[in-house]
């Protein structure tokens, strides 16, 4: 009986050559749970999840603190401050703090807490980090331009059937698939 339940809910990541078994939950279950979190967010706050907005708030706050005379003149900062008088007191900022805690708890329960650079054995850590940085820069820029990232625009947008959400989804994943070939050395 134990085994049966164990097998349904824990999707063992093993194929023909199984070595280490990392215990992640079944992805379909994960999806349903994530959908429920999304529904709660809409029910309580009238909005879906998000991530890149918190980065934007933090960046604006930091720049403002470090160089206030500059932000007086810059268009973006002025517009932002008009609509967000208290940038850090923002739904997304609180949510992202929660994400950190939630991830930590889950990782702790599953015994996955460990400082490491995760990379394919075929490349070096350094290479992985360089690409992570470049990827981050592109994603940071793209998320501002696209007014949302995969969580905020694609996922939450799709849940409310927004056209923008679907376009976002298609663009992100379509491009990633298209470019996958060129970066295959990093992953497989």
């Amino acid at each position: 009986m134990q085994d049966r339940l164990h097998d349904i809910f824990i999707n063992k990541n093993n194929n023909m050559n199984d070595i280490k078994k990392t215990k992640y939950i079944n992805p379909y279950l994960g999806g349903v749970l994530l959908g429920l979190v999304l529904i709660v967010a809409y029910y309580v706050s009238g909005r879906g999840l998000g991530a890149s907005g918190a980065i934007k708030s933090t960046t604006v706050t930091i720049v403002d603190k470090l160089a206030p005379e500059y932000t007086q003149k810059a268009v973006f900062y002025q517009d932002f401050k008009k609509t967000h008088p208290q940038p850090m007191k923002n739904w997304l900022v609180f949510e992202m703090l929660g994400v950190l805690v939630g991830g930590l708890i889950s990782g702790a329960i599953a015994g996955r807490l460990k400082f490491k650079v995760e990379h394919s054995p075929k490349i070096t850590s350094k290479r992985r980090l360089i690409f992570a940085l470049m990827g981050g820069i592109l994603f940071g820029y793209g998320s501002q331009l696209g007014r949302g990232c995969t969580s905020g625009s694609a996922l939450s947008g799709m849940a409310v059937l927004s056209l923008g959400g679907f376009l976002s989804m298609a663009a992100i994943f379509g491009t990633a698939f298209a470019l996958a070939y060129f970066f295959r050395k990093n992953w497989i």
Binding site: T22, L100, S151, A154, G157, L163
Partner: protein
Amino acid sequence: MGPLIVNDIISQNTNFLLAFLIGVGFGFVLEASGFSSSRKLAGVFYGYDTVVLKVFFTAAITGMLGLLFMSLFGWIDLNFIYVNPTYVTSTLVGGVIMGAGFIMGGFCPGTSFCAASIGKIDAMVFIGGLFIGVLIFTEGYPFWETMFNANYLGSPKLNEIFGWSQGFLTFIIILVALAMFWVGEWAEKKFPQEEY
């Protein structure tokens, strides 16, 4: 009657507290599903691990069904929830750039936070990159301001484009998603990868 904040059933501060708790749930589910691993995330693009596909689309259809059913029972008023606006140019261009960032970095902002919380250094570097990327955007804002605001269509829903009801579109998407899951499982068998 939801959304709670709109009907003043909860205060703004409670809203923020709940945002935190929702975030905890979000982070927990992401990490438990394996989204704290960049190699799992990138796997969908090479076929060896389609967890992204499964979780993402299952979450989307759960969300769609949940919201529509709640509206049916009168538990939530869908007119007051945020539907993100559609600016065609910036969404597509931004999406392409994000796609490139995804395949290079192996993360998206939400998952990078979740991975960073369990100690993944590549995730932390990714987050650093995010800040730089946002900074580039805000600094050079006047250059792309026009593109950013171009082609604003309001907040149309996809079902309106096809002339369908929301429920019907949801049904179609469910079928599409299930089809993709089957393809995904096939791909995983076809492109296996050693332990990662």
